[in-house]
């Protein structure tokens, strides 16, 4: 079987397993006569999209903006800080233990504080998503930038290569697989961060909507919100994986 046929088969299996989950869900609810306020059917879940007063599109855009904003901030600041570390070892020595300690803080617990400091809204939620996604990026990126074979360093130095050449030609491309593995973890965490932010205090977004419909026991709408949040997360994750495929040679990829 050639590569194309194999890929096609894999995709078919993926689609079928997801469809199977939906079918099991539908059967479970109808055969077991589960009340709709406990668990709606897949069809009822999708049907809530017609509820105009839930403002699905607006809320989805808000949540997506928080997730992507917090994520980009986490990747940008994380990678920049890791670069700074690799250029200035003294700074890394001083700052790294601090980062490790700060990483121990459950970032979700910072939510109420962030809301006290910055009020509620998209901005603070971006900050919470950033705070939770930032650590894996900075930790993996600085690890990757450190991983240079000493002999390769000798090779560059023997022909008097500059620090900048070492960085652009060897360190940074060599660190990319590490950076991407951190970015994948961060993508998942950023979604959680944004939604927690919306739970804690917000007047827009899918997390906010979930709290609103919870009061009315509109479980179908809650299901739909969870599905939409997951879809945003999957889109982000897929973009990262795609970017990795474009930038990192197969052999160099981690995991």
């Amino acid at each position: 079987m050639d590569d194309k046929a194999l890929a096609l088969r894999r995709i078919t299996v993926i689609i079928l397993s997801h469809l199977a989950l939906v079918v099991v869900w539908q059967l479970f609810v109808t055969l077991d006569k589960v009340p709709a306020f406990v668990m709606p059917t897949p069809l009822a879940t999708v049907a809530t999209l017609s509820q105009a007063n839930y403002r699905w599109l607006d809320n989805t855009v808000v949540t997506a903006a928080e997730i992507f904003g917090g994520y980009l901030l986490a990747v940008g600041v994380g990678v920049s800080l890791a670069m700074l570390f690799s250029w200035w070892r003294g700074f890394e020595t001083a700052a790294m233990p601090l980062l490790v300690t700060l990483n121990m803080i459950p970032k979700v617990a910072l939510g109420p504080l962030i809301i006290v400091w910055f009020k509620y809204g998209i901005g603070p939620n971006i900050l919470i998503a950033f705070a939770i996604g930032f650590f894996p990026v900075v930790l993996t990126a600085s690890r990757g930038l450190r991983e240079v074979e000493p002999e390769l360093l000798d090779l560059v130095r023997s022909i008097r290569g500059s620090r900048w050449q070492l960085f652009t030609k060897i360190q940074l491309p060599g660190a990319l697989p590490y950076i991407f593995s951190g970015m994948k973890v961060a993508a998942i965490l950023a979604v959680a961060g944004a939604v927690v932010g919306e739970f804690l205090g917000s007047d827009r977004g899918l997390g906010y909507l979930m709290l609103q419909v919870q009061v009315a026991l509109d479980t179908a709408a809650m299901f739909m919100a969870v599905i939409l949040i997951s879809l945003i997360g999957m889109t982000l994750y897929a973009m990262v994986v795609l970017l990795e495929r474009l930038l990192v040679v197969r052999d160099a990829r981690l995991d």
Partner: protein, 254 residues
Amino acid sequence: MAPPFIRLDGVRKTYRRARTEHLAISEASFDVGSGELVSLVGPSGCGKTTILRMLAGLTAPDSGILRIGTDAERFDPARDVGMVFQQPLLLKWRRVLANVLLPAEILGLPIAASRARARDLLDMVGLAGCEDKYPYELSGGMQQRAAIARALIHDPKLILMDEPFAALDALTREKMNLELLRIWRESRKTILFVTHGIQEAVFLATRVVVLTAGPARMADNFEVALPHPRTLEMKTHEAFGNYVRRLYRLLGMA
């Protein structure tokens, strides 16, 4: 008589770490003529790599004389050194041709001419047609060939090789020995070749320099008067056997 291309005279090197001092080389003195292929043999940790690093300008001797180049053959420390290590250390994300070009890029050599030269070199090391492959698509021996081409791209006068074939299987290693001799004849480089392999040391070299266990001290320095081009068949000759015996004795193994 013309002065040698490389002269080490009473070179001594100590590494200082925190409060301990480690004497790596207590006394190394030998000459390497232009165009020679000299094997540097000795037990592990005897400072052979330190000698290569000093020749590459990566660390300086504490005392003694280390001079490379002559009036007739100038040596530019910034661009006349090519290095090959035990591991090929190719960049995984670069295709073979781009890997070979790395030193040329760092030195800022004209890119079109370097690309043409890289193709010629890949041809010479037997990797024609592999230009666009990634390192993971090559065997260990082929990767090391690419590493040799990389060491030659900027046309350095001196090639430093640190156990380049030690990680290869025995058959590939023999093949690479013959290849290296051919490359050496064609490129007319001066090569310093560090090895643990006693047969390899004799088979390749015009001269063998032997060091004792650390701290390194000179044990012997002799010419290998076997004719060129060398053939594997020579390994069965008595003259070859005599050199090998001499080395085993020096290293206290016979």
